[in-house]
Every structure is written in structure tokens, then in C-alpha cells.
């Protein structure tokens, strides 16, 4: 399987033999992308101090999990899903509802039952729930392809947001859910930012491993074949819908895991974190980093997180426009990529 990236490989080689570097650097976009983003990350960490870097690292890890999971669907299977934020939200809300310990009855706002489960008990429930939702959604969506699939996945994102916002008896609607538990294993609590970052990176590593395991197996090869020609793959004896559904569900479960982490990290969630725009941004991260490459998604997530923080230091850009300016840059990048490099920076697959 061609999951590996020449970019990182050549980076490694360059690290071992500095002489090779100049030869590699010439015209090697992937290497440049890697170098720029990683240098940027390191420089940023030095410049800004560890505390903030840890926060950003956690944000990065969560986005990276999402991006890697979405790449399974977009890059390897060829289904451009804009609805992944829905599964992220399901994971986040399940963990939030199950672990929250807030005394809502004493508050003057909407009360929902609290369970006070530990994080690691709630997370699997969230993952399974997202998986079940993904099965239901996938059965309906399986018949759609290409741009129609995009359209219905837009719909899924909007529906999910509205469910989070309007099922007040379950999610407290706009009030959001407080006091979401931090993860704990036995007596080891991941309360501090550093501990949480490590946990998030461990999650990321697990997700990357699983993704790698999938794409490097025969299963992954079938997925790419489906992406290239669904009908032809069928003629060779594959029940394409089952394969698509399976990877869709796996990807949804990974997104839910990211959601659970996110909920636990912020300790408070409300529907605003799960809007359609976030989903669109997520898709652009995946395309930006590169389709059908795991490392590309990670790099894309890193670039995305750094982009916003990096722009805070542009002197001519007022702080309040940073978010919007990032959106402009992402939009322009998408256009340029589609024009010149439809596979994304490190991609292995052109749309």
C-alpha cells in the first residue's frame, strides 16, 4: 500500500546525510511542506513558551485524530464527507452526559440526569453510539456518490447540530454541559495539561496505528479500488457496500473518540463547537494535508492549528479577524491546490 510519504522518508534521509539535503530540497514540495510546518511548530513552541504550546498540542492532537479518521473515508474510499463533525459531536456529547457531575438540579437552568461515570467507561459508549449512528446513516448514504454524497453529508452535519442544539432534555441545548470528567486510570488522573497532551498523543498514535493497519491490509487495497471504480470492484467479487459501510463506521468511531477527548479536555461543551463550518474546515485540512496519506492529515492538522496562532502575530491584522483570515487563507489554498495539486500537499490520490 502506498500509505507512506516520500516527504517524511526523505526528511529522515536528509537528517542522516546532510549532503543529500540540497539535492532533495530542489523541487520536492513534500519535503518543503514537512520542513516548513515542523520548523514552524518548533519555532512556535520556543517562542511562545511551553504552556501554550501544550494547549496547542492538545488541540492539534484532537484535530489530527479527526483528520486521520476522515482521510480514511475521503482519501482512501473517495467519499467526500462534510458531515464528520456529527460523529465528533456524538462522541463529545456522550462522554459529556455520562461523565458530567454537575448539580444541575441546583442550577436555575435546564436539568438533565447526571451519571458521573469515569471517562474511560463513557468513552467506549460514545464510540459505540457513534458507530451505531454511522451504521444507520451509512445504510441510507451508501447509495449516494460524488457530489450527491457531499450534499447529503452537508445535511447530516446540519441535522446533527440541530439535534445537539434542540434536544434540550438530553444535551441541555444551548446551555451546554459542565464539569465533564478528566480521564483517570486507577489513581492516575490526567488532570494536568501535560498529562492530557500525552493522553491525546497516545490516542492519536492508536488512531494512526489502526488507520495504518487498515490501509496496509487487503481491506485497504479494496477501499482504494472502490475509490477508483466502484462497479469494477464489484465485478471482482467484493460487496462494495459492506466495505464502504465498514470503513465509514470505523472512521466515525475514531471521530467519536476525538470528540470524547475534546469534551473531557474543555470540560464544557455546547453545540457551537459542532457547527457545519467546523466540518468544512476539517475537510479542508484533510485535502490540504493530502488525500490517502496518514502523515499528510497529521501535517495538515498541525498546519491548521499553527495557522491561526501564527496569524495572531501579523501586525496589520487585528486580532478579531484572525479566525476569518484563516478561513480566507484556507479557501484560497483549497482553490490553489485544486488547480495545481489536486492530491493535496503530500497526497497520494487526486480527487
Amino acid at each position: 500500500m502506498s500509505t507512506d510519504s516520500g516527504g517524511v522518508g526523505s526528511l529522515m534521509r536528509a537528517a542522516r546525510e546532510p549532503g543529500v539535503f540540497m539535492r532533495l530540497a530542489r523541487g520536492n514540495l513534500e519535503l518543503w511542506a514537512n520542513l516548513v510546518v515542523i520548523t514552524w511548530a518548533v519555532a512556535f513552541a520556543i517562542w511562545q513558551g511551553s504552556g501554550f504550546a501544550i494547549t496547542l498540542g492538545t488541540v492539534f492532537a484532537i484535530w489530527a485524530i479527526l483528520a486521520v479518521s476522515l482521510n480514511l473515508v475521503v482519501g482512501f474510499t473517495g467519499l467526500l464527507s462534510v458531515g464528520h463533525i456529527g460523529f465528533f459531536g456524538i462522541g463529545a456529547y456522550t462522554v459529556a452526559i455520562l461523565t458530567s457531575n454537575a448539580q444541575y438540579e441546583q442550577l436555575r437552568t435546564e436539568a438533565i440526569p447526571t451519571f458521573g461515570w469515569p471517562f474511560f467507561a463513557a468513552l467506549p459508549v460514545g464510540i459505540v453510539l457513534a458507530g451505531l449512528t454511522a451504521i444507520a446513516v451509512g445504510v441510507v448514504f451508501n447509495r449516494f456518490r460524488d457530489d450527491i454524497f457531499v450534499l447529503v453529508s452537508f445535511g447530516f452535519a446540519v441535522i446533527c447540530f440541530n439535534v445537539f442544539l434542540n434536544s434540550r432534555a438530553l444535551t441541555r441545548g444551548a446551555f451546554g454541559i459542565h464539569e465533564i470528567a478528566k480521564p483517570e486510570i486507577g489513581s492516575v488522573a490526567f488532570g494536568s495539561e501535560v498529562a492530557f497532551l500525552i493522553l491525546a498523543l497516545v490516542f492519536l498514535a492508536v488512531v494512526v496505528l489502526i488507520s495504518w493497519f487498515i490501509v496496509s491490509s487487503s481491506f485497504g487495497r479494496v477501499l482504494t479500488a472502490i475509490r477508483e471504480d466502484e462497479r469494477a470492484t464489484e465485478v471482482f467479487g467484493y460487496q462494495v457496500t459492506h466495505f464502504k459501510l465498514t470503513v465509514w463506521v470505523i472512521s466515525a468511531m475514531m471521530a467519536a473518540a476525538a470528540g470524547g477527548l475534546f469534551a473531557s479536555w474543555t470540560t464544557f461543551i455546547d453545540p457551537n463547537s459542532f457547527i457545519l463550518l467546523e466540518s468544512i474546515l476539517l475537510v479542508s485540512i484533510v485535502i490540504l494535508g493530502g488525500l490517502a496519506t496518514i502523515w499528510g492529515s497529521i501535517l495538515g492538522a498541525m498546519a491548521f492549528v499553527l495557522l491561526e496562532e501564527g496569524m495572531r502575530f501579523l501586525p496589520f491584522l487585528p486580532d478579531e479577524y484572525v479566525g476569518q483570515a484563516r478561513q480566507v487563507i484556507l479557501g484560497v489554498l483549497l482553490v490553489l491546490l485544486m488547480l495545481f495539486r489536486p492530491q493535496g500537499l503530500l497526497g497520494r490520490y487526486r480527487l
Binding site: 467526500l80 457531499v150 450534499l151 445535511g155 441535522i159 468544512i280 479542508s284 484563516r326 479557501g331
Partner: protein
Amino acid sequence: MLRSAAYRERRGRILAASLTTAAAAYVVWKITESPDQAVQFAFNGLSVGAVYALLALGFTLVYSTVWFFDLYYGAAAAMGAYGVFYLRTSETVGGSHVNNPYVSALFALVVAGVVAWALYEAFFIRMQGRFTRKSLYIAGGTLTGATGIYTGFILASPDYLHLLLAPAVGATAAVVAGWVVSRVIQRLFSKAGRTTLLAASVIVGSLLGACCGLLLAGAPGSRLYLSWAVSCLVAGAVGVALYRGLYVYMRKRARSPLIMLVASLGVLLAITAATAIVFESAPRPLPRAFGSEPWTIWGSNIKGFNIFTIGVAIAGFLGLLFLLKRTSLGRTIRAIGDDEEVAKVVGINTTVVIAIVFFIGAVFAAAAGLLSGHDTAIQPRMGLLLMLKGWIASVVGGMGNLYGAVVGGFALGMVEQFGIWDLAGEWKDVISFVILILFLSFWPRGLLPRG
């Protein structure tokens, strides 16, 4: 487990029919329950539906010609609305001018570019025999520069919109009137000489044109309605520029419609965010247009402006129908929609025709955007929301069918209204997307399938 395709199709049809019947029965039951509310809902549905129908019309036109989802379409809707806001901001809440020299210059450049390209396509080859290349370049350059500067002035000084536009409108009126007069004379007095014909049409044309120009120059109240035209045209020009400057190159290489979709998603993201930077992301009202007083009909209220919107939607539909069915341009558009390669071989300049389609599409979107903006309000995000609704409407009506677009638009408007009779109003968006998924699952060709 023997399930033939015919069986599945039949099952789909049965399901669709029963769903429709159930929906109709529900509506009838609701109407008998409270006729007042039903009438009011119907009015609301028609007002909203008119906007959806306009969106779906333009969307269908573009989609059935180039066969990819152009998300710029949503941005065009927002640009139409914000164009009016940009030009008439002094009449809206907040009052302070948002007029920005960079923005004006940018759009002037875009318009100039589009004009340059249009001149090149329309005249360059035809005139090359008669004039030297150099003189053509000079003439074209001058005209382009003049248009760009003129656009820049119009955008930069909205307070003098009526004065600035008066000559242009007058000239257009003169040309149109002259043409009409010459046609009429030719019909009635077939023996009339060339000189008489020319003299009569020039005199009548220039008189009428001057009259129009003067009237306009003396009517500052017309600025709002002129700004409608300006923002529609600018949105259209941006559509053409995007097509010519971007999509043309991309379509050559694109393996799938997804490339185009993602690229136009980028365009939408960038334009939305840029709008939010220039105009702030909070919603804003547009200045009051005519007909903002409600009329009471059968105990329910509807604004005159909503009736106007419905009229615009129907007029847009008829105009588009005429264009596609009765004019040679329409025939070429349909030919391109059927098979672009063949159309190219037959000798149609597909680039130009598709550019025109993009222009018309963007004008429809801009019109829908500004009408809905006048009716309620504008915000940078409105583009995405409107576009999604336009999509759904055209899917409901039947992709690629004009009749379907109108029916789908109004149907979606109605369904959204009547759908929340028993449900809480916040589920409105969910209803439209559930409708979308139902339609795509059971009735993918829509209410009125194409061809």
C-alpha cells in the same frame, strides 16, 4: 431473495406515493383545524419559496450546463445582498460608511477584466481583418480601462449613484428605443429608406435616452433600485471572472466533479470570510424598499415586497424559459448541457456560452440574496444557507429542470412552513434536509424529472 430493479423501483414509488399522501392528508387536516394559520403559513411559504425558487432556477441552469456543483453560487447570493448594503449603507442601521477604496478597486478590476475578455471574444477576431492589431488593442484597452474606472467610481461614490448611472442608463435606453423604432418602421413601412430609418431611430432613441437619463439624474430615490442592478451585475461579473479565470483551467484536468466542488468550496469559504472581515459578521438590515407595509388578505398578513418577490421569481422563470426554449443562445446552452464535446465540435464557442450561463446564474443568485435581504436581513453566512436551500429545492423539483426548480422552490418553502406546525420551529432546517434525503433515496429524479 430475488429483487429485480423493477421491484425496487416500484417499492420506491409506492413509498414515495404513500409519503406524499400522508403529507397531503396532514396538511388538509391542519388546514381544517386552523384555516387562519394555514393561510398565514401559506403566505410565509410563498414568500420564502419565491427566494428558493429563484435560487433553484439559477442553480439548475448552471448545473445542467456544466454538471458540477458550483458553490460560488452561494457566495453570489451573499454578494448580491452585500452589494446593496455596500452601496446604500448610509440608509441602513449603523449609518457609518463601510465604503472601502480597496474593495471598490478590486471589483473595478474584476469588471474590467471581464469586459476585456468579453470584448476580445466578441470583436477581436471579427475586427482583425479591418483594423490593425495595434489599433484594436488600443481601442479595447481604452474601453476596458474606461469601464473599470467607471465601475470604480460607481462603487466608491454610492451617494451619486443616480448621477453616475444616468448616462449609462440613458445610453442603454437610447439604443434599445432606437432598435425598437427601427424594427417597427421596418414592419409598418416596408418601403422606408435607409436614411429615414436611421434618422427616425436616432432621433427617437436619443430623445428617449436623454429623457431617461435626466429623469434618473433628478431622482435620488432611485439609488436603492439602481444599487440592485449594480450588485447583480457585479456578482455576475465575478461569476464570469471565476469561470474564465479558474474553472476553465480546472475543468480541463478535473477527473471528477469533486475537484470543481472543492475548489468552489474554497471560493465560498474565502468570500464568506472576506465579507465578514469587511462588513463584520453580525446580521444587518438592508434599507427599506417599497412595500414594507403588511397587507391583510383573508385575515392574514403579507408584505407587498413579498408579492413582488414572488413576481420576480415567476418573471425569472418565464425569462429563463424563453431564453432556453426560444432563443438560439438557449439552444446552444442546452446543446452544451447535453454534450459539451459535441457542441464544441459543432462550432459553438462553449467558453463564451458557459460564461454567459455563469453570469445569468450568479445574477439569479444575487437577486435572490438581495430580495431575501430586503425581506429579512443579511449576514455573511447567508450564502451557504441559501445555497443549500437552493440545492434542496432543485433536487426536490428535479435536477436540471426549470419547471422543477420553480415547483421545488415553492414546495420546499411550503413544506418548511407546514412542517413546523406541530414540531417546534427550531427544527425547520432539519425538515428540509430530511426532505432532501427522502427525495434522494426514494425519488432521486425529483417531482418533475428532466427530459
